[in-house]
Amino acid sequence: MSHLPEGLFWLALTLVLYVASRRLHGRFPHTLLSPIIAVPAVLITILLLARVPYAAYNAQSHWLSAMLGPATVAFAVPIHQYRQVIRRHCFPLIAGVIVGMTVSVVSTVWFSRLFGLPEMLERSLSVRSISTPFAIAAAPQVGGQAELAAIFVVITGLAGMVLGEWLLSWLPVRTSLARGALFGAGAHAVGTATAHRRDVEEGVISSLTMIIAGILMVLLAPWLAAWV
């Protein structure tokens, strides 16, 4: 069997499962039915049962990952659209992101050492609180693995969604600026979706925080790697 049809089959299966999962999740909005949980779970099960190596799966499916680059360019649109919001809240947003990202990297490294995780995991975990396309760019710079970082980003988003709602139920944080920043810095896109559901302004702040955090992390990653 030639390799091209097999690669195209896996790409097509990914697309079909994605569309099906979106429809299903639209009707039954349960976290486990979300495309980012359900589709990989089904695909991994199939690949393991059929003993298909990852390289065979990724032969054509890598075209999907290639679109993560252009997706970062798309972030320029919300930045341009909400440039007034950024200008007005420039100081709190940038201060929050700088503190948040520093705490993110330092606490991840400390907790990883506490739990005795190998250095490769520690490094890949350290960029996990930013959006996937940024994490994939930052991970190799800090000596981590892009794929591992991507998985940790997804887990972070899900954990952060639950954690954020719970923290905000008792934390004395009243401005939607701080609430939105909490979701954007802690749980990137998943947090932003949660913030949007709670309040439109919170959602906008969350997405801006997420983008600024991603850009800052990618720029600072080489220095952070040398420092921790």
């Binding site: 990914t14 680059g69 798309a74 649109v77 341009h80 947003l93 609180s129 794929e147 954990a159 923290l167």
Partner: protein, 136 residues
């Protein structure tokens, strides 16, 4: 036939806009590789798009729908990356609980630190502004 083209038009517009965004990305990859060694295309791409919009060479409406589509469907693009977990089975085996603990603990730290910093910075800025106004 006309009904069909009318239905296809919004899709075509999204497709063309995505093409434009991909071109900006490819330009960013080239520019970063040749002229900006410290700045990855992830950042230079955003900077180029913003610069083009600021200069009036690129109107937001030209890329808005394509960008919205890319951001909305971003989950699709990282499915293959998540599946790569298959390659790291031995590294992850038996460590999943520890990894989850690190992620939850650190995410809580990030959220608390960010929210309190933003709150504090917002209050400080408000106080500075009030002081400046009373002085003026």
């Amino acid at each position: 036939m006309r009904a069909l083209t009318a239905r296809l038009r919004p899709w075509l517009r999204v497709l063309v806009q995505i093409g434009l965004i991909v071109l900006i990305w490819l330009a960013a990859v080239e520019i970063s590789a040749r002229f900006l060694p410290g700045i990855p295309p992830t950042v230079s791409g955003i900077a180029i798009a913003l610069a083009l919009m600021a200069l009036g060479l690129l109107r937001r409406e030209w890329v808005e729908d394509g960008a919205a589509w890319l951001l909305r469907e971003m989950l699709l693009f990282f499915i293959p990356v998540v599946i790569a977990v298959l390659q790291y089975r031995s590294l992850l085996a038996g460590r999943f609980l520890a990894i989850l603990c690190v992620i939850v603990a650190s995410t809580a730290c990030v959220m608390l630190a960010t929210a309190f910093t933003v709150d504090l910075a917002w209050k400080l800025e408000k106080r500075w502004r009030a002081r400046r106004e009373t002085q003026a």
